[in-house]
Amino acid sequence: MSEPGPRLPDPRMIPPMREAVAVPSAQQPTAGNDAEQDPSDAALADATLVRPFLVTGGRTRPLRDGLRIETMVSALPAALSAPLRFELRRIVELCQSPHSVAEVAVRLEVPLGVVRVLIADLVSSGYVTCTESAEIPIDVIERIRDRVRAL
């Protein structure tokens, strides 16, 4: 009979953001395990165990509309020293260079709906700014055409 190892927390309960430090050494993949389970699959499985709107305090509606998936988000440098909780801090750090809402969602591994609520909160408190969701002017469309052609 094989010796049962120490009772470890279910790795699926560890939030994905902390997996790098939180996975116990006994759970480290060996060479054999690598082939069976891709680490990104594991991260994906972990993510499913976190209630997505936990980080928004249960709110599913952003404080403002107009955040499209391609809306660009820029954080002010001063926001880095603001007392922000984990997810908001990550957004502020990431958006020191402009990122789209979609990219923020992918990088934080959270659903779009959640990321919208978080970004809208940051806009409201003045830590980040977003591009306008206005109709694209004709001269911009012409510029797109010319630039794509010249790629």
């Binding site: 499913t48 403002r64 107009g66 820029s74 789209s100 979609a102 659903p111 591009t131 694209i136």
Partner: protein
């Protein structure tokens, strides 16, 4: 709405939607021109797993994954173009509105072996008034159809442009995108020309 937003360093981002049936080459198309690896999240898995994956017991999975498939092109310092592939499965239908809202236009990729696969995309964009262009993706060793035949099979009028492309080829993808933007421009200019 976001009045404080005009920072010179933040580029304007415009998006184009790349659509069509499963396996028609959407991710390939995006990858041929994107400067970042197409960021594919769950779209891959879900499209392949239609009717195979048993999703019972993983309730809530759809709400915890991102399910986006997109690429990016920096056109210049202040103008970025995003290409978003549409997810293929019904359970991501809620994403379509987000993808299409504010989109410059849509490319619908067509595989002549499974022409009916693109009907859902066509219907959606026509319903939403999204400027669109049909691009017949040429697969090797398949019979080549005249574009007019494809148009007839799809039941679309002459106002919808239809072109041939090779989703693996950057130049071909560029031509499709330029053609779409021309179509958007023509639509916009005709609207402007209308008497108020």
């Amino acid at each position: 709405m976001f009045g404080r937003s005009k920072r010179a360093s933040t580029p304007l981002a415009v998006k184009i939607v790349i659509s069509g049936g499963f396996g028609v080459g959407k991710t390939t198309f995006v990858g041929a021109i994107s400067e970042i690896e197409p960021l594919v999240t769950e779209a891959d898995l879900t499209e392949v797993s239609v009717g195979i994956d048993d999703l019972t017991g993983v309730d809530g999975k759809t709400t915890t994954t991102v399910a986006l498939d997109f690429g990016r092109i920096t056109l210049d310092d202040s103008l970025w173009l995003y290409l978003f592939g549409t997810p293929g499965q019904d359970r991501f239908a809620f994403l379509w509105d987000d993808l299409v809202d504010g989109a410059l236009g849509a490319v619908v990729l067509v595989d002549t072996r499974r022409i009916e696969d693109c009907f859902a995309s066509l219907d959606y964009f026509e319903e939403h008034g999204t400027p669109l262009l049909l691009a017949v993706n040429r697969f090797e060793h398949t019979r080549r159809f005249e574009l007019d035949e494809v148009r007839e099979a799809l039941g679309v009028g002459v106002e919808v442009p239809i072109v041939e492309c090779d989703a693996r080829d950057r130049e071909s993808v560029k031509r499709v995108l330029v053609e779409l933007v021309e179509q958007v421009l023509a639509k916009r200019l005709s609207r402007v020309a209308l008497p108020q």
